[in-house]
């Protein structure tokens, strides 16, 4: 099948789990012989035609504009970074149009909108262009191009990931009349741990209403979608995420002599870093030899830094800042206990990765991943004392800790993207 796929993140340019999940899905779909035309928030109007398995890493580029494509093909790039620079692919896509440039582009596009959901969506997007918020403007621009992509690229199905690309998916569907699948990796409720941004809710709502099928990454998320957005249960499917097999084996490579406990992810309210910090301050009283690492970056990073300092956790609670893939592997190799403290985690690939390193893991019950793994300790995110007790238990019982790690490792090795791809393929077939 020929799949037109819109997503906001894809390796090597990722900030979180979305890019990693998309990579896993695309890779497994390519293995099953599908062709994927990937559209990312690049500055230039390009897409990535992926037909061979290797393409998932090679990321061949095609410009929509013929002349520009000819120029691109003539260029020689010394490094991959140069090529990505050329097409304007950055980790944090920024708006590159002025507000005047793209005012009400949808009004000009002469697309006829028939349903009230479409109206909701278009309103949000048109306002978005005038927004001071760079992300909204970027989404508006991304959406504005969808029409051209849908016209140029031959496809059988449209598959979009998270709200940032839902409006683009709707536009594409209007142009090509092909079935649309919205894949939900996280809702605004998860990200904000509460109410969130109304505009995003509206986009999520309209996007899922207009989709032919909705894929949720867990039962936890499907319930959220059905409860909060009143999406028809018949069109909601659960496809759990998985992890890629690691090519390089990483041996344990300690940083600290003492037991090392790690938080890894974006430092945002969704991930519950404050619960991790509170548990750390309890554990450190009993086990001053332990070391806590908060790995990642995010809007709560400074707050966590100040809180750890105010708690006088000395040099026993450290911050790594943003880590790239290699560094994540290194930090996992140095860790004994992994904690997922998320307030609301639709899935959670990071705990699977941690477990694949044989790290004993403690996982928030408010997560999708806790539905599918057995060999991990599970706690409610808010139960800081229970979390601290669990960490203490694993520190004090190294044999049990090793066993839990080993069992967890064996368990997650069986969780592969292939079975996820099979399910996705089945959902595609039903729509054709």
């Amino acid at each position: 099948m020929r799949i037109l796929m819109f997503t906001w993140e894809f390796p090597p340019l990722i900030s979180g789990g979305l890019g990693i999940a998309c990579y896993g899905i695309v890779n497994a779909l390519l293995k099953r012989g599908h062709q994927i035309y990937l559209v990312l928030p690049t500055k230039e109007e390009v897409f990535f035609p992926l037909t061979e398995i290797e393409d998932v890493d090679k990321l061949p580029v095609q410009f929509l504009n013929h002349q520009k494509n000819v120029e691109y093909l003539r260029k020689v790039f010394k490094k991959e970074e140069e090529r990505f620079d050329y097409i304007g692919m950055t980790r944090f896509p920024e708006s590159y149009f002025s507000i005047e440039d793209n005012k009400f582009f949808l009004l000009r596009s002469k697309i006829l909108f028939e349903t009230s959901y479409e109206e909701i969506l278009i309103k949000q997007i048109n306002y978005g262009q005038l927004s001071e918020n760079n992300l909204f403007r970027k989404v508006a621009e991304f959406t504005g191009r969808a029409q051209r992509y849908a016209k140029t690229i031959e496809h059988d199905i449209i598959h979009v990931h998270d709200w940032l690309t839902y409006p683009a998916g709707i536009i594409a569907k209007k142009v090509s009349r092909k079935p649309l699948i919205t894949h939900i990796h996280a809702t605004e409720f998860d990200r904000t741990g509460g109410i969130g941004d109304e505009r995003i809710h509206k986009i999520e709502y309209a996007g899922m209403q207009l989709a032919d099928s909705v894929i949720a990454v867990s039962k936890y998320t499907s319930e959220m979608v059905i409860d909060r957005y009143r999406i028809d249960t018949k069109k909601v499917y659960i496809v759990h995420n998985a992890i890629m097999k690691r090519k390089i084996k990483h041996e344990k490579d300690r940083i600290f002599k003492g037991p090392t406990i790690i938080f890894l992810g974006r430092i945002t309210i969704q991930k519950g870093p404050d619960y991790f910090l509170k548990a750390a301050s309890i554990v450190l009283k009993k086990h001053p030899e332990s070391r806590f690492i908060m790995a990642g970056s995010g809007d709560m990073e400074r707050k966590m830094l100040y809180q750890s300092a105010r708690g006088r956790l000395l040099h026993k609670f450290l911050f790594t800042g943003f880590l790239n893939r290699d560094e994540v592997n290194k930090i996992f190799s140095a860790s004994d206990i992994y904690v997922l403290s998320s307030v609301s985690e639709p899935f959670g690939i990071a705990p699977l990765e941690a477990m694949s390193f044989g790290i004993a893991s403690i996982i928030s019950k408010q997560s999708g991943v806790s539905e599918i793994v057995k060999n991990a300790l599970k706690v409610d995110f808010w139960d800081v004392n229970k979390l601290a007790e669990s960490i203490n238990f694993l520190i004090e019982n190294p044999e049990e800790r090793k066993e839990l790690g080993l069992k967890g490792k064996r368990e997650v090795e069986k969780i592969a993207w292939d079975s996820a791809a099979l399910k996705i393929e089945e959902i595609y077939r039903r729509l054709l």
């Binding site: 600290f256 830094l305 100040y306 300092a309 105010r310 040099h315 450290l318 911050f319 790594t320």
Partner: protein, 397 residues
């Protein structure tokens, strides 16, 4: 008579590398050799060498009538030896004129008095030994890091052999209606206390090139006139002391050469000495000059010469600074308890006050100054690198 006492602080910290958590345990040197070398070389060229040359010329020209005093930290001397030995040589040349007084302090320009009096006294001893071996000099004047002062510090210094004078910031809240132009005693009347004239000091150190200042441009004549006006208020013939204390980097670094700062300094003794009322002295001369009963002043709270607040807040206010200092204190104690002598100089380099200054998160005006002097992008970054260094140090046990 009125006496100008110049005192210049010469200090360079060992700046830290951008140490990451993943660097811990990889046997890294914590200090940024390249950055430290570049900075020393740059300041040598812009400030140390030309200013030393100028001072030497003035001292020779005025045959003992022009004098200055320095406090040079151990970390500065170590880096001169590593990166620019000619600077140390030129200070030695100055010291041979006998018109230069060297002032004692902690070797590491540290905040040790805040958390460990023993460490504080040990670092003072180290500095004395350094002055003796490098310059053949035994100091009688003490000044604490960044002029941080409090009664307790006077007590410690009094216990240390040789010190008779201590210098501090002439903060309004201590002086009240008094003038910094008189010599005082500390609260127990043990040490002579000399206080910085912050107005006249900052006129040179901060305002000299400020075009928005109503006195700009500052001419030597105008400046000397201000000093004379102070002496006019003294009707009983008491000796007055105008204590001009500042960073040595004022000359050529903070105030660039094109501001005319060197010309100002060159002309100052000429105009001042012609008045026949003004002399140039150093702190130790005060002991024999003072011709009145010195009033004792009590400093209960910390004062310093930093920022608008003139207190400890530049180094010890936010939680990052406090947590970092506690971590340092912890590691120093552990090193001493377990006799890890090889780790001691490294931990002590981390006691230098600048590391805490970089973590200062006060905004507004002073934040800008901190930013100017910081090798890092933010106080949080400075804190992260520092804490990684301390964490690494503990893994070396």
């Amino acid at each position: 008579m009125i006496n100008i006492l110049f005192y210049f602080q010469v200090h360079q910290p060992f700046r830290l590398k951008h140490l990451r958590t993943l660097d811990i345990g990889t046997n890294q040197d914590y200090f940024d050799d390249k950055k430290n070398r570049d900075i020393i070389k740059k300041i040598a060229e812009k400030c140390y060498i030309p200013t030393n040359t100028l001072l030497l010329k003035l001292i020779e020209k005025y045959h003992g009538k022009y004098k200055v005093s320095f406090s040079i930290t151990g970390t500065a001397v170590e880096q001169f030896k590593l990166y620019a030995p000619e600077i140390l040589e030129s200070f030695k040349e100055l010291s041979r004129t006998n018109c230069v007084e060297f002032i004692g302090e902690t070797y590491y320009h540290s905040l040790a008095f805040l958390f460990d009096p023993d460490e504080f006294l040990e670092q003072i001893e180290m500095h004395k030994e350094m002055l003796l071996s490098e310059f053949g000099y035994s100091p009688v004047t003490f000044r604490n890091t960044e002029l941080i002062y409090q009664n307790r510090i006077a007590d410690y210094v009094w216990e240390t052999e040789g010190f008779k004078i201590i210098i501090a910031e002439g903060a309004d809240r201590i002086l009240d209606w008094r003038s910094s132009a008189y010599a005082y005693k500390d609260y127990r009347k043990n040490l002579t206390l000399l206080l910085k004239n912050y107005k006249l000091s900052d006129d040179i150190a901060f305002r000299f090139s400020n075009k928005g200042w109503k006195e700009y441009p500052l001419t030597v004549e105008k400046y000397v006139k201000w000093i004379e006006e102070i002496s006019d208020t003294e009707k009983m013939g008491r000796e007055l002391f105008i204590n001009l204390f500042m960073d040595y980097e004022t000359f050529g670094e903070h105030q660039w050469e094109d501001t005319g700062i060197f010309k100002f300094m060159e002309k100052l003794p000429d105009v001042a000495l012609k008045t026949k009322k003004i002399k140039f002295k150093t702190p130790q001369d005060v002991l024999s000059l003072v011709n009145y009963q010195q009033e004792s002043l009590s400093y209960d709270k910390f004062v310093s010469w930093a920022d608008m607040e003139r207190d400890l807040s530049a180094w010890y206010e936010n939680d990052m600074q406090k947590n970092a200092l506690e971590s340092l204190s912890y590691i120093l104690r552990k090193i001493k308890d377990e006799g890890k002598k090889d780790l001691l100089p490294i931990a002590r380099k981390l006691s230098t006050s600048d590391h805490f200054y970089y973590m200062c998160s006060k905004y507004f005006q002073d934040g800008d100054v901190h930013k100017y002097f910081s090798p890092y992008n933010s106080p949080e970054q400075a804190y992260i690198y520092y804490m990684n260094a301390i964490a690494d140090l503990e893994e070396r046990f």
